[in-house]
Amino acid sequence: MTADEALRRGALALLPERAVYCPPERTLFVADLHLGKAAAFRAAGAPAPFGASEETLRRLGALCDDLGAERLVVLGDFAHARASLTDGLSESLRAWRRTRAALDCVVVIGNHDRRAAPLYAGCGFPAVEEPSLLSGFACRHHPLDQDPRQPGPIALAGHIHPVARLSGRGRDSVRLPCFVIGRRQIVLPAFGEFTGGALVWPEEGERIVLAAPGRLVDWPRSAAMRAPS
C-alpha cells in the first residue's frame, strides 16, 4: 500500500493540527515537539520566555482527547535538550499523563533526544530507537533519503520541520507548515510551538499538503513550478 492509498482508504488521516491520525488503530502521530526549548536557552544565558511548552502540551492533550486516541507516538525531538527537562517540565509531563492514564505513549528517539531520553520513562513516556514498528507504521525521526520502493510498512518521520509557501494575487504569500507525502513515506510538520521551519519543494513523486489553521490545502503544482529552478 502506498501512502496515498492509505490516506484514500482512511487508514491514515492528515490533520490541520499538524498531526497524523490512524483511525483503525486509534493512534495519533506527532513530530518535533521540542519541549523545554526555552528552558535550554535560559540555562545557556539567553532569556527566552515561558509558556511555549505549556501551550504545546495543552494542544496535544486537547487533540488526544477530542480524537479519543488510545495511543500517542512522538516521532522524535520530544524535548529540545537535556537541560530542557527541568523539574517544572517533568512535573507538567507527569500531570499530563495522570489525566490520560489509559493513553499508551511512545517516543521514538530523535537527534535532540539523545541525552534526555533516559529520563522520559520516568515522566511516563517510554522511549524507543528508530525505526520502530508501531500500529503498523515504520516510525522514525530521520526521514529515509530514498522513498522505499519495496512493499512494506509506510514510514512516518519528522526532523525536517517542513514548511511551504502559498502565494496569490497582489503578491500575497504565506509560509505554512506542511506534510511531505512520498510513495511510502510521510514527513510530518513540527508540532511544537517554539520551532522554526525549513522551506521544502517536492521531489519527484512527492506531494505537499499544507496545514493551514482549521483546514488542509493541497499545495498546487503551479506553486511548484514557481519554485526557483
Binding site: 540555562a43 539567553a46 520566555p49 509558556g51 500575497d172 504565506v174 522551506l199
Partner: protein
C-alpha cells in the same frame, strides 16, 4: 628631547622631498599640549602621519620612559606614571621605578607599556595601517639624534593568531592597531584595566564610517571605558567630509570632552562626470542592471592604467564581472572582483594585485571604500546610483590617492532616473552640500552587550557604570528606567516582575560588584561581541571529496533552495552545487551559466541631501530647462513620463493609479528618500486597511512608493483621507505604531537586536553539536516573545528603532504636511510610467495585512481553483 624629535621629523620629510603640511604641524602642536581633537582630511592626504607623528612627539621615547620632566615638557611628563610595569602586560606595577640606564638599558622590564590604541573600522585595513605606521616610526627614528629606537607596532583583529595574542600580552607593542570589536573583546578580559593602565592616546581612524551606526556606539562605549581607566586619555579621530563635523567631534569626545577640529585644507582636484548612453532612445529606462553600458565601461577601463568599478551590492559585482569578461575574454586574469563574501585569501590576492598595479580593473562593493592605499588606481567608476554626496566623494578619493593628484569618479547610470541623480550629485558638490551623520540614541541592545563585557572585564558597580555610560553622546540622556531594564535583562533575563528563574548571565556579588561567573556564558559572549549582524551564512568550498579551497560565503537561504547539480556564479566562477553538509556548501567547478546569489544588506537609501537636489533637477526639467549632459540624456525618458502621466514638480504631488493582472496599484512620488517612503507606504496602507480589511504588498524606492492590493480598491476616491496629515505628532506616532503590528518591519529589525543583546548566538565553523542546539532564528524568538512575553524590552526597542530610526516619524510628519500643501496631480495610467516601472518590478517588498490568515488562505485557494478551472 622634543626638539631632537622635531628635527628628526623635518629630516625624514626632507629626505623624501616633502615638507609637512600646515595641518600636520597644527595637529602635532595640539597633541604636544595633550589636547584631543578630530582631524578632517581625505584619505591619501597624510592624516596618518599627522596623528602618528603627533603621538611620537607628544609621548616620551622608549628608553627614557619613566623619567620625569624631560626637555621642558614638564607638564606632560608629570602625568606619567612613576612606575614601569613588569613584562606581564602591566600587571601589578612595582612600588618603585626600575633603574633607568639611559638608552643602553633595554631589558624587558624597561619596555614601555601599551601607549597608543589605533582603532580602524575594518579588519582588512589593520594590516595596512600597521605597515604604514611602522614605516613612519622607523623613518623618523633613523633621523633621531638621541638614537631612540622606533616604536613597536602591533595589530590585533579577528585575524590575529592565538600565538601572536599571547606574545602581545607578554610584551605589548607601543602602538596597537585594532577594531572596535577587538577592543570590546580586550575589555572583556579580567585584566583589561591593567592592559590599558598606561594608555595615553586612542586614535579612531575613519570615524565617519562608525558614526551613525551601532559599531559607532560600541566605539563610544569602549572609549568611555578607556577614559574611566585613565582620565587624561587623549582622543583623536580622523574623518572624511561630513556635513556635521562639529557633532562628529562632540560624539567622539563625549559630552564632557573638549577638543579641536583640525581642517586639512589641501586643494585636491576633483572631477565628477557621467558615462552617457550612446543613444538615449536605446537606453532602457526599465533596465534593472544596466549591463547594457558594459561596452562603454570596457572602453573606459581600456583607456586607463588601472580602474576600480564600484557597484552598490555584491550580486551586482558578480553580474558586472561576467559582463566585462564576456566582452573581453582576454581580460581573464587581469580583471578581478572583490566583495565582503569572498574568502580572505581571494580578497588579499586582489588587494595585492591592485597595489602592485598588475590588475587592470577590479569590480567591487564598499569593501574597497576605505583606507588601503592603491596608488596605481587611476580611474573610479560608480555603477548605479551614487546614493550620497559624501559617498561619491569618498569613492572619488580612491583614485589619485596621493597628495596633489587628481581624483576622478565617473557615474555609470543603470537606468535613466540615475542620470538625474548624477546631475543632482554634481549640483550638490558644487554647492558644498554634504550629508550629516549623527550618533544613535541609547540602543539598549548594545548597552546590554557592553554590560556583560564589563562584567567579564573585572566586573562593575552599577552606579559607577551608569555614570561612565552617560559620559557618551549615545547614552547621555539614558533614563533610570532604561538602565534598570538593562540590568534586569542581563541579570535575570527580564523585568523584575517576570524574572526568568534559572537564568543568570551577570550575577551581582555580595561586594556590590556585578560579574559573570559561568565559564560557558563568558565563552559564548566573547564569540558574539560586536554590532555587525550577518545573515546565517554557509561556507562555499570545493568538495566534499577531496576537500578543496574555501571560496567564501553565501546566505543560507540561497543554498537552501539549491538542488544538487544546480549552477551558480560565485567570485566570478561558475560552480555546481553538490550538497550542503554541516554549514558548508560543497561545490565543484562547472561551465556555462547559472544563478547569481543575492546577499541581503548593504541596501543604502538615497541621502535626503541628494533627494532634495534631485527634486530641484526635476523642477528645472519641468520648466523645460535641461542643464548639462546628464539632463539632456534623460530628456527622452522625462518626455515619456510627461506624456503618459506628468512630471513631479515642487508645487504638485504626483500620484498614479493602475489596474494590472497583479491587482490594483497606487503610486505616490514624494521624493523623500527610501526610508521615509517605507514609513509612508505602511501608514497609507494601514489607513486603507482600516476602512476595509485587506492585504497589501508595498514597494518603495528613493523616489516614491507603490501599494498593491490583490482585491479591488478605488484608490482615487480614498486618496484625500489616505494622504491627510495627522492632527498632531502623538496621533501620527500611534498610527505608525499600529501599522507596524500589521507588517513585518519590527520583526526584521529584531534580528540585529536579538543578536547584539546575546539572544541569538552566531554559529561558527566547527562548533560542537550541542552549541548548534542553542540556535534559534531571531524571527522565531520574535514570535515567541510576542506571544508569551509581549512587554519584553527588546521588542519595545525593535518597535522604537523602527519608529525613530528607520521610519523617522518626526520627518514623516513633516513630509505629510508638505505633501498636503501641494496640489494633488492624480493620473490614472494605461501602462507603467518610467517612474512607476522600477517600483512595480522591485523584488524586495513589505507586506501589510489586517486580515486573518484564514481569510487570506481562503482567497489564495479560491484563486487557485479559478486558475485550475480556466
Amino acid at each position: 628631547m622634543a626638539d631632537a624629535r622635531a628635527t628628526a621629523i623635518e629630516a625624514w620629510f626632507a629626505e623624501r622631498g616633502r615638507e609637512p603640511f600646515p595641518f600636520q604641524r597644527e595637529t602635532w602642536a595640539l597633541m604636544a599640549e595633550g589636547r584631543s581633537g578630530l582631524l578632517h582630511a581625505t584619505t591619501g592626504s597624510g592624516k596618518t602621519l599627522a596623528v602618528a607623528l603627533g603621538a611620537w612627539l607628544a609621548l616620551p621615547p622608549p628608553p627614557l620612559w619613566g623619567r620625569a620632566g624631560e626637555g621642558g615638557r614638564a607638564e606632560l611628563s608629570e602625568k606619567e606614571p612613576s612606575g614601569a610595569p613588569t613584562g606581564e602586560a602591566g600587571r601589578d606595577p612595582p612600588p618603585n621605578p626600575p633603574p633607568q640606564g639611559g638608552r643602553g638599558a633595554k631589558s624587558p622590564s624597561a619596555q614601555p607599556p601599551l601607549s597608543v590604541l589605533w582603532l580602524t573600522p575594518m579588519r582588512a585595513l589593520a594590516a595596512d595601517s600597521e605597515k604604514a605606521l611602522r614605516e613612519a616610526f622607523e623613518g623618523v627614528a633613523a633621523h633621531d639624534a638621541t638614537g631612540a629606537p622606533a616604536w613597536s607596532v602591533g595589530a590585533r583583529t579577528g585575524d590575529t593568531s592565538a600565538g601572536e595574542r599571547t606574545r602581545q600580552a607578554k610584551t605589548p607593542p607601543r602602538l596597537l592597531v585594532t577594531t572596535p570589536e577587538s577592543l570590546s573583546l580586550m575589555l572583556s578580559r579580567p585584566d583589561a584595566r591593567d592592559t590599558f593602565a598606561d594608555l595615553r592616546l586612542v586614535v579612531v581612524d575613519e570615524w565617519h564610517e562608525l558614526l551613525g551606526n551601532k559599531r559607532g556606539v560600541l566605539t563610544e562605549l569602549g572609549l568611555a571605558r578607556l577614559r574611566a581607566f585613565r582620565h587624561d586619555l587623549m582622543t583623536w579621530g580622523m574623518s572624511a567630509t561630513l556635513g556635521n563635523l562639529d557633532d562628529a567631534l562632540h560624539v567622539l569626545l563625549g559630552p564632557h570632552g573638549r577638543g579641536t577640529l583640525v581642517e586639512a585644507r589641501i586643494a585636491k582636484p576633483l572631477i565628477v562626470d557621467t558615462l552617457l548612453p550612446a543613444s538615449p532612445e536605446r537606453f532602457p529606462w526599465a533596465g534593472h542592471l544596466g549591463t547594457k553600458m558594459a561596452a562603454a565601461v570596457v572602453a573606459e577601463i581600456e583607456a586607463a592604467q588601472s580602474t576600480l568599478v564600484f557597484t552598490n551590492v555584491r550580486s551586482q559585482t558578480e553580474l558586472w564581472y561576467q559582463s566585462l569578461l564576456k566582452l573581453r575574454p582576454d581580460w581573464a586574469g587581469i580583471i578581478a572582483l572583490h566583495h565582503g563574501s569572498l574568502s580572505r585569501e581571494t580578497r588579499d590576492w586582489v588587494e595585492q594585485g591592485l597595489k602592485a598595479g598588475t590588475l587592470k580593473a577590479v569590480v567591487c562593493t564598499s569593501s574597497l571604500d576605505l583606507g588601503v592605499d592603491f596608488l596605481p588606481v587611476e580611474r573610479v567608476l560608480q555603477v548605479g546610483s551614487p546614493k550620497g554626496v559624501a559617498r561619491i566623494l569618498q569613492r572619488a578619493g580612491r583614485s589619485g590617492h596621493a597628495p596633489g593628484r587628481t581624483s576622478r569618479v565617473t557615474i555609470v547610470p543603470s537606468h535613466s532616473l540615475e542620470l538625474i541623480e548624477a546631475a543632482a550629485v554634481k549640483a550638490a558638490i558644487a554647492a558644498g552640500r554634504i550629508e550629516a551623520r549623527r550618533s544613535l540614541v541609547a540602543p539598549l541592545d548594545v548597552l546590554a552587550q557592553h554590560c556583560v563585557t564589563v562584567a567579564l572585564g573585572g566586573g562593575f558597580v552599577p552606579a559607577e557604570l551608569l555614570a561612565e555610560v552617560r559620559a557618551t553622546a549615545a547614552y547621555a540622556t539614558l533614563t533610570e528606567e532604561s538602565w534598570a531594564w538593562c540590568l534586569d535583562f542581563v541579570s535575570r533575563g527580564g523585568p523584575t516582575l517576570k524574572a526568568y528563574p534559572g537564568f543568570r548571565r551577570v550575577v551581582p556579588g555580595a561586594d556590590g560588584v556585578w560579574r559573570v561567573l559561568d565559564h560557558d556564558i563568558a565563552h559564548r559572549h566573547r564569540l558574539n561581541i560586536g554590532a555587525i549582524v550577518s545573515d546565517t551564512s554557509v561556507v562555499v568550498q570545493y568538495g566534499p571529496a577531496p576537500r578543496g579551497a574555501k571560496l567564501g560565503t553565501v546566505e543560507e537561504s540561497f543554498v537552501a533552495r539549491m538542488r544538487a547539480g544546480q549552477r551558480f556564479w560565485f567570485g566570478g566562477k561558475v560552480l555546481e552545487f553538490v550538497r550542503l553538509e554541516a554549514g558548508t556548501a560543497f561545490v565543484k567547478p562547472a561551465k556555462g551559466g547559472g544563478a547569481t546569489p543575492a546577499w541581503a544588506g548593504g541596501r543604502m537609501p538615497l541621502s535626503t541631501t541628494l533627494a532634495d537636489a534631485m527634486v530641484e533637477a526635476f523642477a528645472r526639467a519641468a520648466e523645460g530647462r535641461f542643464d548639462g549632459p546628464e539632463m539632456e540624456a534623460a530628456r527622452p525618458m522625462l518626455e515619456v513620463q510627461a506624456k503618459w502621466s506628468a512630471l513631479p514638480t515642487p508645487q504638485t504631488l504626483l500620484v498614479e493609479t493602475l489596474k494590472s493582472r497583479e491587482g490594483w496599484h497606487l503610486f505616490v512620488y514624494p521624493f523623500a528618500g527610501r526610508d521615509i517612503h517605507l514609513g509612508l507606504s505602511s501608514l497609507v496602507a494601514w489607513r486603507a486597511a482600516r476602512t476595509e480589511p485587506g492585504t497589501f504588498s508595498l514597494s518603495f524606492n528613493d523616489y516614491g512608493f507603490e501599494i498593491l492590493s490583490g482585491a479591488p480598491r478605488d484608490w482615487a476616491a480614498a486618496l484625500p483621507d489616505l494622504l491627510a496629515p495627522a492632527p498632531d505628532a502623538g496621533a501620527l506616532t500611534a498610527e505608525v505604531a499600529a501599522s507596524l503590528n500589521a507588517s513585518e518591519l519590527a520583526r526584521r529589525r529584531f534580528r540585529d537586536i536579538a543578536h547584539i543583546a546575546g539572544l541569538v548566538v552566531a554559529g561558527y565553523p566547527g562548533q560542537r553539536k550541542s552549541a548548534r542546539m542553542m540556535q534559534a532564528s531571531s524571527g522565531l524568538f520574535y514570535d515567541v516573545f510576542r506571544k508569551f512575553d509581549p512587554d519584553n524590552g527588546l521588542l519595545k526597542q525593535a518597535e522604537r528603532e523602527v519608529l525613530e530610526d528607520e521610519l523617522d516619524v518626526k520627518r514623516l510628519g513633516a513630509v505629510l504636511e508638505r505633501m498636503a500643501s501641494r496640489r494633488l496631480d492624480l493620473r490614472p495610467l494605461k501602462r507603467a510610467t518610467p517612474l512607476a516601472f522600477p517600483l512595480m518590478v522591485a523584488r524586495f517588498r513589505e507586506k501589510l495585512t489586517n486580515e486573518t490568515l484564514g481569510a487570506r488562505i481562503e482567497r489564495m485557494v479560491a484563486e487557485l481553483d479559478e486558475a485550475a478551472d480556466a
